[in-house]
């Protein structure tokens, strides 16, 4: 990026990124924004652990603690993990299926800017009277009782960024269905593409439930409706259902792409094709499907009665089966392979025991009668950090190291990468393993302090020490990124040497049109097949011709900005006279720019055949 800046000047680069519709640049935007929110969420996590290091601590006050814990969860799930996953999906999936971009490049950009403005709006709450304080689940009775505008920031911010996610999901679905290169049948798609496909379907069906729930919450809080007020005939438990019908698939939206990244890594660094590919695909689809059948296991103690509890308990246990299939398939991918321990592979290898530990506690939690003890304790906190950190965050670190050369054309330092890995791995287990026991010893979750004399002191201190290891590891990763960017040593198409899928057949980073000629895919691991037959690259599936490309556009940014402004108007409508005008003004910006987009024809442009012939070293080699 630095060389680009020198060539074009900072302003030009900034304008390019503000208007880009190129999936690779949008991936970088997601990576930067998601990375920033990840650091923010991590900082909040450190505050939590410092506060809980000793009993009766007063590092933060009770009310502030609730804001921090709410923003930690909300930020990490919606503004860090999901955008970072979207970064890799955007960067890699179109390349893996041999496409020149996603199906709707304009929408791709719109999705990013909606997420970004939603996230900024949510975090501005810190400076405008206090952040949301009812937990990331924002259960209705408490979220309605919460004073100030915190919960309004939560509801409106997530509404805006949720719309972005939904748009992104639809875009990926259409891309995978329609834009696969010749010969790329469904059962030849790389595992990460399959994971993206199933994840996008989950987003399509899960996010509307959140959208509806948030709308009802917004109306209850800002416009005087009573959907969740029992005194007026409403019902708070409906919120719990809305939230978890979205919220449970959400955790699979996070973990399935992580599984996809690890599937790629195990195959690449074992030099072996994925063991049991078709059962892996089947397991992914099954996890996605079952993910919608189990939401009420988050509500075992709500009082649904033994019949519902028993049904949801058994359904939840069933998910362990396809997940187990995946674990064994990964192990047997390595079995008989030729393993090298690169940084991505270290994360992948460490993921297996960490995730299995989180998975088995998931089965324990699924068992309703014993869940009455675990529910809302640190046992649950330990469980979901084992699966989300041990699964998703490990995958994000692994993916960052694996795909850094493909995204930026230069490799992260392996030595520093391994130091990050070791510190984070130790810190992670130190922090969260003991929390299982804290929960069993009777420590509820979401408490801002605890009293001495309950046998919880030492374990909490251990947990806090672990958190510092993770913080240091992340700082080293940042140093690594800076050093790598400054050095900027360029690498070739296949920097790891054992790339199997199409993205490794083209330059790093790829030219903006990705493939000069669409590649012909002859089987699973298309690039590997060609390499094994002694060829240097893919065979083209079409003669060299003009390439149709979309124009850059500033409209997605403006549409999102309009909603961002309107959200302030909606929130302050009741107490300030400027509320309604601002609401209308913001909506006018959004609707106006949508109108411009609709009436102004944008046919894109063509890269001519002759220009492509000049640059022989780029794209597919014939």
């Amino acid at each position: 990026m630095s060389t680009l800046a020198q060539k074009k000047g900072f302003g030009a680069v900034l304008w390019d990124y503000l208007t880009t519709v190129d999936h690779k640049k949008i991936a970088i935007l997601y990576l930067i924004a998601g990375g920033f929110f990840f650091l923010l969420g991590g900082l909040e996590a450190m505050f939590i652990r410092i506060q809980l290091a000793v009993p009766n601590n007063d590092f933060v006050s009770a009310g502030l603690y609730n804001e921090i814990l709410t923003m930690h969860g909300t930020t990490m799930i919606f503004l860090a993990a999901m955008p970072l996953i979207f970064a890799f999906m955007n960067a890699v999936m179109p390349l893996q299926i041999g496409a020149r971009d996603v199906a709707f490049p304009f929408l791709n950009s719109l999705g990013f800017w909606l997420f970004f403005f939603g996230g900024v709006f949510l975090n501005l709450s810190w400076f405008l009277g206090g952040a949301p304080d009812a937990g990331w689940t924002s259960y209705a009775s408490l979220s309605l009782a919460s004073e100030g505008h915190g919960i309004d920031f939560y509801a409106l911010g997530l509404q805006i960024s949720g719309a972005g996610t939904l748009i992104g999901g639809i875009n990926f679905l259409v891309t995978i269905i329609n834009m696969r290169a010749p010969g790329m049948t469904y059962m030849r798609m790389p595992m990460f593409t399959w994971a993206t496909f199933v994840t996008s379907a989950l987003i399509l069906f899960a996010f509307p439930a959140l959208t509806v729930g948030l709308f009802l919450l917004v109306f209850d809080r800002m416009f005087g409706s009573n959907f969740f007020d029992p005194a007026m005939g409403g019902n708070t438990i409906i919120w719990e259902h809305f939230f978890w019908i979205f919220g449970h698939p959400e955790v699979y939206i996070l973990i399935l792409p992580a599984f996809g990244i690890f599937s790629e890594i195990f195959a690449i660094f074992s030099r072996k094709r994925l063991f049991g590919y078709s059962s892996m695909v089947f397991a992914t689809v099954l996890i996605g499907f079952l993910g919608f059948m189990v939401w009420a296991h988050h509500m075992f103690t709500t009082g649904m009665g033994p019949i519902a509890n028993a049904i949801f308990a058994v359904a939840t246990m069933a998910i362990a089966v396809p997940t187990g299939i995946k674990i064994f398939n990964w192990l047997f991918t390595m079995w008989g392979g030729s393993i090298t321990f690169t940084t991505p592979m270290l994360w992948a290898i460490a993921f297996i025991p960490s995730f299995v530990a989180g998975g088995v506690t998931g089965v324990m939690l699924a068992s309703a009668a014993q869940d009455y003890q675990y529910h809302d304790t640190y046992f649950v906190v330990a469980h979901f950090h084992y699966v989300i950190v041990g699964g998703v965050v490990f995958a994000l670190f692994a993916g960052a190291h694996l795909y850094w050369p493909k995204m930026f054309g230069t490799m992260l330092n392996e030595f520093l990468g391994k130091i990050t890995f070791v510190l984070f791995f130790i810190g992670f287990h130190l922090t969260f393993f003991i929390q299982h026991f804290l929960g069993l010893w009777g420590m509820p979750r979401r408490i801002f302090t605890f009293l001495p004399g309950q046998g919880l002191d030492t374990a909490n201190m251990v947990s806090t020490v672990g958190a510092f290891f993770m913080a240091i590891a992340v700082i080293i990763l940042l140093i690594n990124i800076v050093i790598t960017s400054v050095k900027n040593e360029k690498v070739g198409n296949d920097p790891w040497g054992d790339g199997r899928t199409l993205e490794w057949a083209i330059p790093s980073p790829p030219p903006f049109y990705n493939f000069k000629q669409l590649p012909l895919v002859r089987g699973l691991d298309a690039y590997w097949l060609e390499k094994m037959e002694g060829k240097k690259g893919m065979s083209p599936a079409e003669p060299l011709g003009d390439i149709h490309m979309p124009n850059n556009s500033f409209i997605p940014f403006v549409i999102s900005l309009g909603l961002f402004i309107a959200a302030f108007g909606a929130m302050y409508r009741a107490e300030h006279s400027w509320g309604i005008p601002v609401l209308i003004f913001g909506m006018l910006i959004t609707l106006g720019s949508m109108f411009v987009r609709s009436v102004k024809d944008d046919h894109g442009y063509h890269i001519h055949k002759e220009d492509l012939e000049d640059s022989n070293d780029k794209g597919v080699k014939a």
């Binding site: 030099r271 089966v321 047997f332 008989g336 030729s338 290898i349 069993l440 309950q454």
Partner: protein, 358 residues
């Protein structure tokens, strides 16, 4: 190699033993020291599922270490590209299903057992139940316990007889809370719109080990002082419970203070506190009028506000500035500044509110 494996196994068992003995938490709080039928059922399920899960982890770990040690890259050969193995895949699909069935059957049976509250419905001629019923009402940040059969109310400290099933009606009056006595059994939410019902049993011997006091917790985020919404459970043999209930019921009129100081305190109380705090246990007032914990037996209790030690000094600190000790509580600012003399008097009076002679 074999010796190494044995040594590993031994250290594993040693670790397990250590975890089970030293690290099972406090008897008044820990779910790993079950003190009653419900907690015991849940503990047994924990042990069963942990055993299955440790088995699974062991298998994965063995394969994992073999793979990582044996198949490191030694040369530049390209390994055989294996598509999969139907036999293996069937094995690791079927075995987990069987393991889950082993866990699912006791899970479902326990889930129904713990939800069986039919004795609450069986009324005798007086329109009361033979089983002991407690109506629990959760409030920002305190607990009310009403005994409908005994027609008494108390707050913050639940008194129950040991070795029999106690049935609970749970509800919240402001936001959602969750009623949890870790050592005695799992939690159940107190919703704002409906009554949740369940039962617990308090084991006499285990209660004695815990000095007859269990800790209770709120387990659902309910606001700033969620962490401080503790309560105590005094579990005593049935005859002592009956004595307590009778002694409570005998308080028909507010107990008159005896010393001069206490009388002054009672005056302060009647001016500043009685609007919210009752000092008679009758459950005649409507719920909406019961704005704060009932103090009939305040002097008998183990904690002030659920969290502070039961001493005069702590009581004065609490009365001076409740906001410091329980941020966001509903008592702050409902009464004027108290002078030191008033505090002394009030403390004397409150500490004298006892129903048990001890």
């Amino acid at each position: 190699m074999k010796r190494l494996a044995k040594w590993r196994l031994f250290s594993l068992f040693a670790m397990m033993a250590l975890i089970l003995s030293a690290c099972s938490g406090k008897p008044y709080l820990s779910t790993l020291k079950p003190a009653g039928e419900v907690a015991q059922t849940q503990f047994d399920l924990m042990v069963l599922s942990t055993a299955i899960m440790v088995g699974v982890i062991a298998v994965v770990t063995v394969i994992f270490f073999i793979v990582v040690v044996k198949f490191r890259r030694k040369d530049d050969r390209i390994p055989k590209q294996v598509e999969g193995s139907h036999k293996l895949e069937i094995i690791w699909t079927v075995i987990p299903i069987l393991l889950l069935l082993i866990l699912a059957v006791p899970t479902v049976s326990a889930t129904f057992k713990l939800a069986d509250v039919s004795p609450m419905e069986k009324k005798n001629e007086e329109g009361k139940t033979d089983a002991l019923v407690v109506n629990v009402r959760a409030n920002l940040y305190w607990w009310e316990f009403e005994y409908p059969n005994q027609e008494i109310i108390t707050g913050q400290e639940l008194v129950v007889p040991t070795d029999e099933k106690v049935y609970f009606n749970l509800i919240a009056s402001d936001v959602k809370h969750s009623f949890w006595i870790p050592a005695v059994g799992g939690k159940l939410d107190t919703n704002t719109e409906n009554v949740n019902k369940f039962w617990l049993e308090f084991d006499g011997e285990k209660a004695a080990e815990a000095d007859n006091y269990f800790y209770g917790k709120c387990a659902e985020l309910c606001g700033p002082s969620h962490a401080l919404m503790d309560f105590k459970v005094k579990a005593v043999p049935r005859d002592q419970f009956d004595q307590w209930a009778t002694a409570m019921k005998d308080v028909k009129e507010p107990k008159q203070a005896e010393t001069d100081l206490a009388q002054a305190g009672q005056e302060v109380f009647n001016n500043s506190c009685i609007g919210c705090h009752a000092v008679t246990p009758a459950n005649t007032a409507p719920e909406a009028a019961r704005l704060a914990p009932n103090l009939t037996n305040f002097g008998d209790r183990d904690r002030i506000a659920g969290i502070l030690d039961h001493t005069e000094e702590d009581l004065k600190d609490w009365l001076r500035d409740p906001e410091t000790y329980k941020p966001g509580n509903k008592m702050t600012g409902t009464y004027g500044e108290l002078t030191e003399e008033e505090l002394d008097a009030l403390t004397e009076y409150l500490m004298g509110l006892k129903v048990m002679e001890q």
